[in-house]
């Protein structure tokens, strides 16, 4: 069976044979390069940090290229075993994981420490996309219910670590699959209603004190300007004082004089806005938008339901990353620990994201697989 999009122009291009999607690669490199410059500024102009980040980015690029060589059919075959292994790892993290910064996220597997919740960011969409695509679309109610349960298990396990940010991202990656699979609007609306009814339960029974504090701080940062509100106030000052043109690279006083906490990690967007202003922010948002559009384009043109759902979910989850990070740094969302994708300093999330883009490239370039 050959689908209509298959004889597209680029089949024989060298990039295509290398399983690289050029527009996507261009967008990603753009972000990574930008990140290096902002990290230099935010990290106190220490070139060592930049080198370290660059080498991690290089590693992440290699991971992406390797993943891109794997035909999507393989993921479909391995969806269930991968999911089971992921769950086992998550449970073992809770049982014997390393405690770092008050949460258990890491586990030693003999050679090295791994963070199973990161791997689950890829496995959950693969699993849900596989499960939903086993049936005809639009997905039926009982398919959706089971898919929901499959999403809920890893989400709760990760929330228990506790790592609220990651668990929300994983939940949304699964929910995107269900949405794209054509869940009926009636269902979507009633679920949204149920979810909002769940908020009080979350507040009173599931959230830890420090998580509640974050939400309270978000609602009114000025109530404790030197304590928990400090971060968000300083961040808003940084963004606001950037103005249209920004203060210029290496010239942002908020970051250079170290008023801004977590400058080169989660709050790097504030440094960027301070130094490059609204013009810089607009360009950055356009790059992200471009990557999202390219991802969705790949999804729409994918060969079968599984790859369509997977590509769509990965792309939308990437966007959620962007939205949550910029939202929290600019003060419209509470502070959850989500980095600005491909720009923030830090290796783990970058490798997972790039592996995700590797899957997207595989979907866009491996055409002749059997359904």
């Amino acid at each position: 069976m050959r689908s209509s999009g298959q004889d597209q122009q680029k089949i024989h291009s060298i990039w295509h044979r290398l399983h690289i999607d050029l527009p996507l690669l261009a967008g990603l490199l753009c972000l990574i390069t930008l990140g290096l410059f902002v990290i230099y500024s935010a990290g106190g102009q220490e070139i060592n940090i930049v080198f370290k980040h660059a080498s991690r980015a290089g590693f992440a690029l290699i991971v992406m290229l390797v993943v891109a060589q794997i035909p999507p059919l393989t993921y479909r075959k391995w969806a269930v075993p991968l999911f089971v292994i992921g769950l086992v790892l998550l449970i073992s993290v809770l049982l014997f994981g390393h405690v770092g910064k008050g949460a258990k996220r890491w586990i030693n597997i003999g050679i090295t420490n791994i963070q199973p919740s990161e791997i689950m960011k890829l496995i959950v969409p693969i699993m849900i996309a596989w499960y939903v695509s086993e049936y005809n679309l639009p997905a039926k109610l009982n398919t959706i219910i089971i898919a929901f349960i499959l999403v809920l298990i890893p989400t709760l396990l990760i929330a228990k670590q506790p790592d609220l940010g990651t668990s929300l991202l994983i939940a949304s990656s699964g929910i995107f699959v269900i949405f794209l699979a054509g869940a009926s609007w009636k269902l979507i609306i009633s679920c949204a209603g149920l979810a909002s009814a769940f908020v009080p339960v979350l507040w009173f029974f599931l959230m830890k004190d420090y998580q509640k504090q974050r939400v309270l701080t978000f609602l009114n940062p000025e109530q404790d300007p030197l304590g928990s509100g400090y971060q968000i106030i300083q961040s808003q000052i940084a963004i606001g004082s950037g103005g249209l043109n920004g203060k210029g690279w290496l010239q942002g006083t908020q970051s250079q004089l170290e008023f801004l906490p977590e400058r080169h990690t989660d709050f790097i967007f504030a440094v960027f806005s301070e130094e490059f202003g609204l013009i810089g922010v607009s360009l950055l948002l356009l790059v992200y938008l471009f990557i999202v559009m390219r991802g969705l384009w790949i999804a729409v043109n994918a060969q079968d339901a599984f790859t369509k759902l997977l590509a769509g979910s990965l792309t939308l989850t990437f966007f959620i990353y962007v939205f949550v990070n910029i939202g929290m740094v600019s003060g419209i969302l509470p502070v959850v620990g989500v980095p600005l994708p491909l720009v923030s300093y830090g290796g783990t999330s970058m490798v997972t994201l790039m592996a995700g883009f590797g899957i997207l490239m595989a979907i866009s370039t491996h055409r002749r697989f059997h359904v």
Binding site: I239, E258, Y288
Partner: protein, 665 residues
């Protein structure tokens, strides 16, 4: 596969269309969210620009952590054992220096700073953070500080930074007990974080790594303070707006007597061994010294690998605190075995044993020798201790059996931690049938019980345990936990002076000299449950015999204390460290040093109402046993304690003559 079968026919086109529709809706959602983000940032950067611009410009207030001063440590007479010394370093903020190369050269010339230091500085300059000071030279001499201060005005951006560093004026004399502080490393940082304590340590560089410094880290450290400062556009501190001072750590007063400690060191010089002196009335440790020792000050500044290797590779193992390391107790535990025999009705004070110079188990050829080849003849309890007769105790141990012995000895604390307030303690070994089964998976042999009778075989005790056991004996069963800490002193809410100098550039240091606001808390230690004997008079019988051992002419501990003006009781011991074959005699001169006997000694005085118990262990002595080698050490400690005091002058305590860590020549 089963799932696959249920898919009858897939309408590919319909599915693709459905997916495309949903993707389009999702894309619209993405657009909406991006517009939300954009308009919010537009609002911040364009509409509210003036407001945030002003706030950014007036954003001048920073919160700086201020480290608390570490508590000081004093001996029982108020002699300072651990202090905080100001260490001055010269620092440079390159952004504030106009001609960096020229200025550094001039300063270096002025203060005689080596070429090497300058090069190091320029190297650091390349990879630095903006407005962060770089150290040009640390540990300035007073002269250098004065010289620079006079010329300060010529060098904007270069300044002197004062920091407090721990200093142990007595150096190696106190290292095994006080321990030392050293740089907080990654492992310490993780531990602090796990305990939720890292906030309190943000401004702290060093923490206790050994001994009392480690054990009482929580008390000594204090609580962090904060300074709210205003900075200018270059990030320089203009003035202090608010200051919540740190709470300094509590000062410790120890039971230790530094003069006794000095005598101990002198008495042990040239030997490997340890001395512990305890006040049996409260368990306070008067002296604990292990020879050879090393200077803890070396670790405070970060020991060089050359120095560390030197300490580590020394064959005398100076890092080991021998006062809490296990040695075979040898004859020093005979009084406790005698007590066990009396208590179990195996012997009475009048029970007599024939000592022909050897002991044989019924039906076994193997002979156990007495230390006196011709034997002691008929021996009773008193005489057995006075002469340290081995045969008497082979027989007693055989009749008691290992189980009764170890059960009683465990009550005296052998084989267990004493609970003293340092973490480096070894519990040593009190062997028993179960112990041997667990350790070697072997049954207990009667022959081993005989060796136990003379404090050998597997049995090891630390000098600390030994002094503790003898304290329990002289207290007739009362068990006081040995300890160093006598009292803590804290500053109670010092009234804070609000008019801090407006121009100050440095972090404010608080004045600690507010003696009228200090509060002294004596530490009260709870006793352990006492040992209660069936016959209270058994205590007196054994104590009396020990008294005789030191007082009777010809008794084993007599010579060591001959002519002393206080009423002393004691016991000698010599432990074999190598096995001697049947029909072979031991000759120290012919034996290589590491296999020579260890000398042990215990003593207490005054006999009525004892105030001090001393335990001594010396490794591999050249000739003679405990009486000749360890006895004189105990004697010197006691002499010092009971009057012949060597008074340390003020001057001596301040400037002891040992390694100068600041490198002043």
């Amino acid at each position: 596969m089963t799932l696959r079968k249920r898919v009858v026919i897939r309408n590919q086109t319909a599915e693709a269309n459905l997916f495309a529709r949903r993707t389009f809706i999702a894309f619209l959602g993405v657009l909406v969210l991006i517009i939300i983000l954009f308009s919010n940032i537009y609002d911040l950067e364009i509409n509210a620009y003036d407001k945030y611009q002003t706030r950014s410009n007036s954003n001048r207030i920073k919160l700086l952590p201020v480290a608390p001063n570490r508590g000081l440590i004093y001996d029982r007479n108020g002699v300072l054992l651990a202090e905080n010394k100001s260490v001055y370093s010269i620092e440079v903020i390159p952004e504030q220096v106009k001609d960096i190369k020229g200025s550094i050269l001039k300063v270096s010339e002025l203060l005689d700073i080596s070429e090497e230091k300058q090069q190091k500085f320029f190297k650091a300059l390349k990879s630095k953070r903006r407005f962060k000071p770089i150290e040009l030279k640390s540990r300035l001499s007073d002269q250098q500080v004065a010289l620079f201060s006079v010329n300060q005005h010529k060098f904007p951006g270069i300044f002197i930074d004062a920091r407090l560093k721990r200093y142990y004026p007595f150096g190696e004399l106190t290292t095994h007990t006080l321990g030392y502080v050293a740089r907080i490393n990654r492992r310490d940082a993780i531990k602090l974080e796990d305990k939720g304590n890292s906030e309190n340590y943000t401004a702290t560089r060093n923490m206790g790594k050994l001994g009392l410094e480690r054990y009482y880290e929580n008390i000594l450290h204090g609580t962090i303070g904060h300074q709210e400062v205003e900075i200018n556009t270059q990030g320089r501190i203009i003035r202090t707006l608010d200051f919540s001072p740190p709470t300094p750590g509590k000062d410790l007063t120890l039971t230790l007597d530094i003069e006794l400690q000095m005598i101990a060191k002198r008495a042990l010089s040239g030997k490997r061994g340890a001395v512990v002196a305890i006040d049996p009335r409260d368990g306070g440790v008067l002296a604990m010294y292990s020879n050879p020792s090393y200077d803890g000050n070396l670790f405070v500044h970060g020991i060089s690998s050359k120095n560390y290797k030197k300490i580590l590779n020394s064959k005398d193992l100076p890092l080991i605190n021998r006062a809490v390391m296990g040695y075979p107790p040898a004859s020093t535990i005979k009084p406790l075995l005698a007590l066990t025999g009396l208590e179990e009705n195996i012997i009475t004070p009048d029970t007599r044993i024939m000592d022909p110079g050897f002991y044989q188990l019924p039906g076994i050829k193997n002979k156990r020798r007495d230390w006196k080849p011709q034997g002691h003849g008929w021996v009773n309890l008193n005489y057995s201790l006075e002469q340290s007769c081995n045969v008497y105790y082979y027989d007693l141990a055989y009749k008691l059996g290992i189980t009764r012995i170890s059960r009683m000895m465990e009550k005296f604390g052998f084989g267990d931690y004493t609970g003293i307030d340092i973490h480096e303690e070894n519990h040593a070994i009190m062997p028993s049938v179960e112990w041997k089964r667990n350790r070697y998976n072997q049954p207990w042999y009667t022959g081993e019980t005989l060796s136990i009778g003379i404090g050998q075989s597997f049995w090891t005790v630390t000098p600390l345990q030994l002094s503790q056991a003898i304290s329990i004996l002289v207290n007739k069963g009362q068990i006081k936990i040995p300890h160093f800490l006598k009292a803590t002193t804290e500053v109670v809410t010092p009234p804070f002076n609000d008019n801090l100098s407006e121009e100050t550039n440095d972090i404010v240091q608080i004045n600690n000299n507010l003696s009228e606001y200090t509060k002294v808390s004596q530490i009260i230690y709870e006793d352990k449950p006492p040992i209660i004997l069936k016959q209270h008079k058994n205590w007196d019988l054994v104590l009396d015999a020990l008294h005789n051992t030191a007082q009777k002419l010809g008794a084993t501990a007599y010579t060591a204390f001959k002519g002393s003006h206080y009423d002393v009781a004691g016991k000698t011991g010599s432990a074999q460290t190598a096995n001697i074959k049947q029909n072979e005699t031991y000759d120290a001169k012919k034996t290589i040093e590491s296999k020579r006997d260890n000398a042990m000694f215990i003593a207490f005085a005054p006999y009525e109402n004892p105030e001090i118990v001393v335990a001594v262990a010396i490794e591999n002595v050249a000739e003679g046993g405990g009486g000749r080698n360890a006895g004189p050490v105990a004697r010197q400690i006691m002499d010092q304690y009971f009057g012949k005091r060597v008074i340390i002058s003020e001057d001596q305590s301040k400037h002891p003559h040992h390694t100068n860590i600041y490198g002043k020549k």
